[in-house]
């Protein structure tokens, strides 16, 4: 049996240490026993590096988050309301921006601040990480009159905004986070919005390259520095 700590330690070592030899992985399919859970994946017969099937990892992710954080996990609904509620008068502009900001909230901001959010089951897709569950939650929140959409000015797509009811809910839900974490989330939301969809994609592809695997726009995202001096 392998423990989660052992996997994390191996991953940490790989990040900080120089690889001893360059080689092509020789991968063999296998099923790992991680703390009693059967996780499908592959192992390299040369270096021993393990690769896990993303679908099976969700379970481990939940266990790991519960272990590292305190209190009940935030629902995806609450996470959307909190993100939108950081600046209730400003829209989240576009489906892509909503998906990427929620992805960064779950994968980057939440671990950094020891917040437990229910996994949104992001998978690599044509424009980076994408969550069907999140899409459904957004639709449900809209049907319930908590968020509303309107067409984006001058572009295709829709912007999301809290309704008056949604704003009241956001005010209540704010207490789910420590005041200083709430302030940090406000700063982060503004910082993400200022990056625009293109910058968010760059950030996600840079920091979570595994989710860029199926991207159809990876090259365009990576291009494009204006040469000025």
């Amino acid at each position: 049996m392998i423990t989660i700590e052992e996997i994390l330690e191996t991953a940490r070592r790989r990040r900080v240490e120089e690889p001893e030899t360059e080689h092509e992985h020789d991968l063999k399919e296998t099923k790992f026993n991680i703390e009693g859970h059967r996780i499908r994946g592959k192992v390299c017969s040369v270096c021993g590096e393990r690769f896990f099937l993303m679908d099976d990892l969700l379970l481990l992710e939940e266990i790991l988050r519960a272990r590292e954080t305190e209190g009940a996990p935030l629902s995806i609904e609450d996470a959307v309301i909190l993100l939108a509620g950081t600046y209730p008068d400003f829209e989240v502009s576009g489906k892509l921006v909503m998906q990427k900001e929620m992805f960064l909230l779950e994968k980057s901001f939440a671990p950094e601040h020891r917040i437990n959010i229910r996994p949104m089951e992001f998978v690599p897709f044509h424009m980076g990480p994408y969550s069907k569950r999140l899409k459904q939650v957004l639709q449900d929140l809209q049907d319930a009159g908590i968020i509303e959409t309107r067409p984006l000015a001058g572009r295709k797509g829709v912007a999301y905004k809290l309704t008056d009811r949604g704003k009241r809910l956001a005010e209540e839900r704010k207490n789910l986070l420590q005041p200083e974490v709430w302030e940090q989330l406000r700063r982060r939301r503004r910082g993400w919005d200022e990056l625009g969809s293109h910058g968010l994609l760059r950030l996600v592809y840079q920091d979570f390259s595994a989710y860029a695997g199926k991207s159809q726009i990876k090259e365009q995202v990576e291009e494009g520095f204006v040469h000025e001096a």
Binding site: Y87, D89, F90, E91, S93, L152, A153, G154, R155, R187, R188, R190, G191, W192, D193, E194, L195, G196, S197, H198, G199, R202, L203, Q206, G224, F225, V226, H227, E228, A229
Partner: protein, 385 residues
């Protein structure tokens, strides 16, 4: 956006004023600097998650002669400009957003392109709508602004939007035309609460700048676009130019961007870049800065430098992220350092203006360069510093 209040709250005898601006969603004080679309691009490309602290965002739209031709004859050009403007309006939604059409100096827009330039700003949802000037010699600029202001107001009303109209006045106008135009705009403060100014070098347009300084009590928001980053002349070369217009009562400033044309060879040495130095309000080449400070350590806490050395910043932004030997993207990193730190410098300067001590503040930072901006002989304030 609705501009609810612009009020001059403090005037310094040497120069400068502190004003308070309130909109339905923003509240801030000036003098301050705007962040331009170019700076937003650098932030995006370098993936900097720290938000800007600025209160005004300016989308600088470059138009060379070919662009102007395309804009009036091709559907694609308009829709592409609209998409871009809307995207910046969105990224700048936390600040007062506006655009500045940067076009060749002597060019004068005809009716058709002026209308399109105004339409695109309203359609994109920018908070302010800039009306470009017509000819530089005409005394009827005010008529021109009035005509197009009416047009914008009607168009925005049809779309159910609020838009603040900003007439753009070039600083290089002949002194009598400049005075006539500014006085007419000041007289029509209710219609023109914000006046856009196109930068021109201060020494060559001193009469116009002094007119602004003499009218520092006017409750009109003066925003200046296209300010050159550094002075280029002899003994005061490397001064950070954008900190000078505030002496003349200009409330907010935005830097110019290159007009483009021709590529540059890849840059291999970061020492050629400019680096903003807050204590001296200057922007020397890094090679000079390193000589002056005796080392490569920046000792700067901004989100770019984070107390690191120049080689380490280069490593972070270029070698690790971009993995390339061309250091051009690093230009953006140092521009962002400048946005963060010079915004702090403006904040610091506001305190001195409020305490009527701005002359001393400037002298301590820019030394004898301050002499060029002293008041004339008839004034009694020369001996403040």
């Amino acid at each position: 956006m609705k501009l609810e209040r612009f009020k001059v709250v403090d005037i310094d005898d040497f120069g400068g004023r502190v004003s308070e601006i309130r909109t339905d969603i923003h509240r801030f004080e000036t003098p301050s600097r705007a962040a331009t679309s170019t700076e937003y691009n650098y932030k995006r490309n370098l993936m900097i998650e720290t938000p800007f602290e600025n209160d005004v965002g300016e989308y600088v739209a470059r138009f060379n002669v070919n662009d102007i031709q395309a804009f009036t004859t091709r559907n694609g050009s308009y829709s592409s400009r609209l998409r871009t403007a809307a995207s910046y309006a969105d990224q700048m939604k936390y600040v007062v957003s506006k655009w500045y059409p940067q076009f060749p100096y002597a060019y004068s827009f005809g009716d058709k392109i002026t209308r399109l330039l105004l339409d695109v700003q309203v359609d994109a949802g920018l908070d302010m709508v800039s009306v470009p000037h017509s000819s530089l010699e005409e005394r009827n600029l005010v008529q021109h602004y009035t005509r197009w202001t009416n047009y914008v107001e009607e168009y925005a009303q049809r779309l159910g939007r609020e838009a603040v109209v900003v007439p753009y006045v070039p600083m290089r106008l002949r002194a009598d035309v400049f005075q006539f135009t500014m006085e007419a705009l000041w007289d029509a403060q209710a219609t023109y609460p914000v006046i856009g100014l196109i930068y021109a070098p201060i020494p060559r347009n001193k009469i116009n700048y002094d007119l602004l300084r003499d009218h520092r009590e006017e409750d009109s928001w003066l925003h200046m676009s296209a300010v050159e980053r550094a002075t280029w002349r002899g003994q005061w070369a490397d001064l950070a130019n954008m900190h000078l217009p505030q002496i003349y009562g200009i409330d907010t400033v935005a830097t110019s961007i290159p007009m483009g044309g021709g590529g540059r060879p890849p840059l291999q040495d970061y020492h050629v870049f400019r680096y903003f130095d807050q204590p001296t309000l200057s922007i020397p080449r890094i090679s000079s800065w390193v000589n002056e400070h005796g080392g490569e350590e920046t000792n700067c806490p901004c989100p770019i430098c984070r107390e690191r050395s120049f080689p380490s910043i280069t490593e972070e932004f270029i070698l690790r992220r971009g993995q390339q030997s061309d250091l051009s993207p690093l230009f953006g990193a140092f521009r962002l350092h400048e946005v963060f730190r010079s915004s702090e410098a403006f904040e610091e300067g506001r305190v001195f203006i409020s305490e009527n001590d701005f002359g001393r503040y400037l002298t301590e930072r820019i030394g004898t360069a301050v002499d060029e901006h002293r008041l004339g002989q008839t004034q009694t304030l020369n001996d403040i510093v």
